[in-house]
């Protein structure tokens, strides 16, 4: 029996935020079998579910382990649906270069921001952790990024963030990118001091800050 589109979308959404990957896989396959729109299913099912998980994270009902499992379920669904996207679905996306600055290997926070940016539909270029500072600049130029996101958990490596901004200035391309920073020891005051465009203290906040910076830039 064929189910309504809305019912399947609800399974996709619930499957993601209730951490039920099997439900997501079953529902995603159902979307494909019924020829329902894959783009719609990703956005209004999977990503809606991830956003709900983000809300629970914000409310301190979910923590890092829960968010990681939700994201696994989301990615499992995207994997099934992606081959069925139509050409017209590929819109101009926000491009992001993200990574943990050189000398630091703590990447949980960065991974959470990446997950929420994927969920927000951004095109994310993840450089990983312990990233040489010049690589941020090179990658941003290569992909024509809108945002550069720098993360660190350590006081000893936070000055590397200022170095990246200096490198952009030296090349005369500082204004081509919005630079957002975050991580344990980082604060709005530190962001102001080094001339970063934005600061966020958690993954959901990073999306809000990004959107508001890009909206301002477009206005």
């Amino acid at each position: 029996m064929t189910r309504e589109r809305g019912d399947i979308l609800k399974d996709l959404m619930d499957g993601v935020f209730l951490m039920n990957e099997e439900l997501v896989i079953k529902a995603a396959n159902e979307i494909v079998a019924n020829n329902y729109d894959a783009y719609d299913a990703i956005n209004n099912g999977l990503i809606a579910g991830m956003n709900q998980a983000g809300v629970l994270f914000d409310k301190e009902e979910y923590f890092v382990p829960e968010l990681l499992i939700c994201s696994d379920a989301m990615y499992a669904g995207i994997e099934i649906l992606r081959p069925h996207l139509k050409k017209s679905d590929k819109r101009e996306q926000v491009k992001v270069v993200i990574g943990v600055v050189e000398g630091d290997t703590h990447d949980i926070g960065k991974n959470l921001v990446k997950i929420m940016m994927d969920a927000a539909g951004f095109e994310v270029h993840d450089l990983g952790r312990n990233v040489p500072l010049a690589s941020f600049v090179e990658k941003a130029k290569e992909v024509n990024a809108d945002l550069i996101c720098l993360s660190t958990l350590m006081t000893t490596t936070m000055d590397g963030m200022a170095t990246v901004i200096e490198m952009l200035k030296e090349e005369g391309i500082r204004d081509s990118y919005k630079v957002i920073i975050g991580g344990g020891p980082i604060s709005q005051a530190f962001a102001n001091k080094i001339g970063a465009d934005g600061y966020a203290d958690n993954a959901a906040g990073a999306i809000k800050v990004s959107r508001s910076l890009l909206a301002k830039a477009a206005a």
């Binding site: 951490m19 979910y62 923590f63 890092v64 382990p65 499992i69 949980i108 006081t155 000893t156």
Partner: protein, 343 residues
């Protein structure tokens, strides 16, 4: 009252002339590059040689006014001994894990037991023997990686954190092996003469795990360790909890260790409310210690003392560029305001 007597009495909540000022070592780093120059013993060599390790931590005691010594200077000894690959870092950066010992929980059987008679574990044991000989009146702190931090240094943290929800049985299996090995290493450090155990578990913050997972997977293993060292060796313990402790709430009071140390974002007042039976320890911002002036540091130290801190300490590990002058300033503030507060 010598440094060792004062710290041990403070940990037992017995009367002391003032709160001791300590930097435990391990994650709670006490070594800075100026001390490396003065002691002619620098990272990364000091991680590999017991004599250099002892000399460097003694320099923190003698030149910067830190009222203890402590080993090691990193959180990688145990993970390396159990099979992870470690890059020893540089003069200004700490060692870190570059490759995990196992790729999945199915490979738990491949983990090696720590051999305290080999490698860098042995370096720590021998360094403690030297410290006992050179500075018998100064307490030696043996720093152990926290169980969650060690577990997530043996297997990719992403795999580990997901396991906390989706593969609980295997996570407990791994945690049991982790604790057995921390006890094996801790036994050797205690037998060499360590006076206090300090456990820091930065991967087990309330913000990362949430209260329930912390209660199920962090607290029981941390408490098993500190109870063991008290019963077996008569040693008191300090447990440092990174990040904001508010998500943990009353769980903080269930920590079995004698002392609880917190990050700078938590006030000593909050700590004392959450864990009234514990010796409170902390919590001068290490950012301020690295970037601020001696007078700022002293003011923050005095504030902790006025708030009734049981042990004065930095809130986290010192950044390697922190000046000796700032550490000394905190030490002096502890001595002066500490005595004033109790007289």
């Amino acid at each position: 009252m010598n440094e060792k007597t004062r710290l041990l009495k403070a940990l037992r909540k017995e009367p002391v002339d003032r709160a001791p000022f300590i930097c435990p070592g391990g994650m709670m780093n006490m070594t800075v590059t100026d001390l490396m120059d003065a002691a002619e013993s620098a990272w990364p060599d000091a991680h590999l040689d017991p004599e250099k390790m002892a000399r460097l931590t003694l320099a923190a005691n003698r030149l910067a006014g830190v009222e203890n010594t402590g080993v090691p200077f990193c959180m990688t000894i145990e993970a390396e001994a159990m099979g992870s690959q470690v890059y020893l870092g540089t003069r200004g950066t700490e060692p870190r894990v570059t490759e995990y010992a196992i790729g999945s929980f199915a490979e738990i059987g491949r983990l090696r037991p720590i051999d305290p008679g080999a490698g860098r574990a042995k370096v720590c044991v021998e360094a403690i023997r030297i410290l006992k000989r050179e500075a018998p009146g100064t307490p030696v702190i043996a720093n152990l990686s926290g169980p969650i931090s060690l577990a997530s240094s043996l297997i990719d943290p992403i795999v580990f954190y997901k396991g906390l929800i989706a593969d609980k049985g295997n996570v407990h299996n791994l945690m049991k092996i982790v604790n057995e090995n921390l006890i094996r290493f801790g036994d050797a450090l205690a037998e060499a003469g360590a006076d206090v155990i300090c456990i820091a578990d930065p991967s087990a913050t309330g913000e990362i795990l949430g209260k329930k997972v912390f209660a199920d997977f962090a607290l029981p293993y941390i408490n098993a360790l500190t109870n063991y060292f008290r019963e077996k060796h008569g040693l008191p313990s300090i447990v440092h909890i990174c990040g904001d402790v508010r998500p943990l709430g009353g769980l903080l009071g269930e920590i079995a260790a004698e002392a609880v140390s917190v990050d700078s974002m938590v006030s000593i007042k909050t700590l004392r409310e959450f864990a009234p039976a514990k010796v409170s320890m902390g919590n001068v911002s290490t950012y301020l210690l690295e970037k601020g002036e001696p007078a700022d540091v002293a003011r923050h130290g005095e504030r902790c003392v006025r708030a009734g801190v049981g042990i004065l300490a930095p809130a986290c590990g010192l950044g390697p560029k922190t000046s000796i002058a700032n550490i000394k300033s905190l030490s002096r503030a502890g001595r002066e305001s500490g005595v004033a507060a109790r007289s």
